[in-house]
Amino acid sequence: MAQTVFIEAINQAIAEEMRRDESVFIMGEDIRLAVYGATANLLGEFGEKRVLDTPLSENGFFGAAVGASLVGMRPVVETLTSFMWVGMDQLISQAAKMRYMFGGQATLPVVYRATMFYGGGSAAHHSDRSYPMFMNMPGLKIIIPSNPADMKGLLKSAIRDDDPCIVFEDGTLFGMRGEVPDDSELPLGELIVPFGEARVVQEGTDCTVVGIAASVNHAVAAADQLAQEGISIEVIDPRTLVPFDKATVLKSVEKTGRLVIADPAPKVCSAASEIASIVAEEGFWDLQAPIQKVASEQVHIPYTPALEKLVYPNTEKIVAAVKRTLDV
């Protein structure tokens, strides 16, 4: 098993898929020189035709990716979450809606890699964690990895998937190291993580903590801390939000009777809200305590570290929420 950095896992996934399938190409701003890092060295290997630097025209090139996908290409578009507003129409009116509204005629194997740069003083215009908004809109698969191995395996799945996918890449994890199995170690000879299969990160009996993106790691840290107080936490990482593996969450709550959801998105209509609502409906009789949402404060991201640090879920907040569910 190789120790791989998160951003390197992105790069590997893209390179491998570009090698495997000629119809895969990448486009975005400043990707040839890999300003954001993930596309390093791809120009050299794959050439200018398959590594396209675009003008500052998100709506235009998001849509061009839709069009290319309709006629047999597999575009992988790089952007930041906060630039998606500019190209929103193509994501919603075309990518998400087209297949259904054309009665299944359209097939759109397009991937949008949307990086979430938050937590580092990027301020309101560069820090969106917007996946809940896209969850509300039917038609988009939503992928949100929490470690290098999942990042690689899920991005590869997304590129092979025939539906439009948005991969939300948590910028706070870009430097994270983790084990990524070598292909030779894998039964299928390659790392593919399927959609809709949550990972039980660690088993536990007292409370279930569902984490999203970087919050998975905070959940594990919280579990470690709570273990010292004799509290046993089951940590679950959904890995994809559309499709969402509710069975794994419900089964866990059946066992623990308690649920905390840690989600870096703003708390109103968040992924945490959705998961809470599912369990309040389908897992209600298993619940022994109120569900706790640990999501971001409902404010824009303040620039100053003095305030920004208050906004997101963290280990401390998760620990406190678990204790609330246990009334300790």
Partner: protein, 329 residues
Amino acid sequence: MDIDRDTLMQMLRRMWMIRNFELKVIEVHSAGEFTGAAHPYIGEEAVAVGACAALNDTDYIAGNHRSHGHPIAKGGRVDKAMAELYGRVDGYCKGKGGSMHLADFSIGILGESGILGSSVPVAVGAALAAKIREENFVSLVFFGDGASNQGALHESMNLASIWSLPVIFVCENNQYAVTTSYATTVSVEHVSDRASAYNMPGLLIDGQDAIAMYEATVEAVRRARAGEGPTLIEGLTYRFEEHSLGLGRVRRGEYRTEEEIDSWRQRDPIVIHEDRLISQGIASREECDAVNAETQQEVDRAVDFARNSPFPEEADLYEDMWANPIPQP
């Protein structure tokens, strides 16, 4: 340009097909056979028919809300189109799309779009694929004078130009966006004047003249296939009917005068085309009338087809959401 008789007659046939389709749609819509918006293309037939006559089945088009003319001009089937308007399973989109979302991917019709300007980047993307794969299909997109003010147009024309993509931008300038005159919303005299801002040819064409549209598009297609990049073609035209069926609120006199409408009706694209065919001895009056009659019959059959097609089943609701299906929430 020397145009062969088959092409000229096919243009006539498709113009009549659109005209008769739209007349029938108005009839059955006002009889309440289906509801929902529908935007008649009557008066503008030469634009789509002339343009599409320059394309092959392997070329792509994309369109907008005024959506029946484009697919028929590209060779789409009126029975499947009509069944779609009736919301039936045998419609082009199995009843899921309706009037504004006709599409036939089997012959390059990438679909109409109800969001204005929104299909333009998509068409650019199809052309991008041609370039990356080094294939020689082209892509053509229809949009209105109103939609030309969308930012999507600017981004798309710029992208197509810098990448020299085989795409043809066809502006159907019927001079109004619903009730709003293009003179009050477009800051240049003609939409085609904007081509220079994208370093591409911009042609102002008589949109009532199918042959003129055809010739302009043939040249644009030639450029596109030769790798010379995109072209903007503005077809100056007029819609003879109101903006959409069921838009009764606005009385026409409030934004277009009767005189203006009448004067444009004098320039009926079908009449212009037939007159030319007859005067040049390419077809007789009888032959032209026969085309009208045949297309009328085909449209009548399309209505029968539509009426006899069943509505989708409840179980179809979640079909067609995904190519690689996932459990529904």
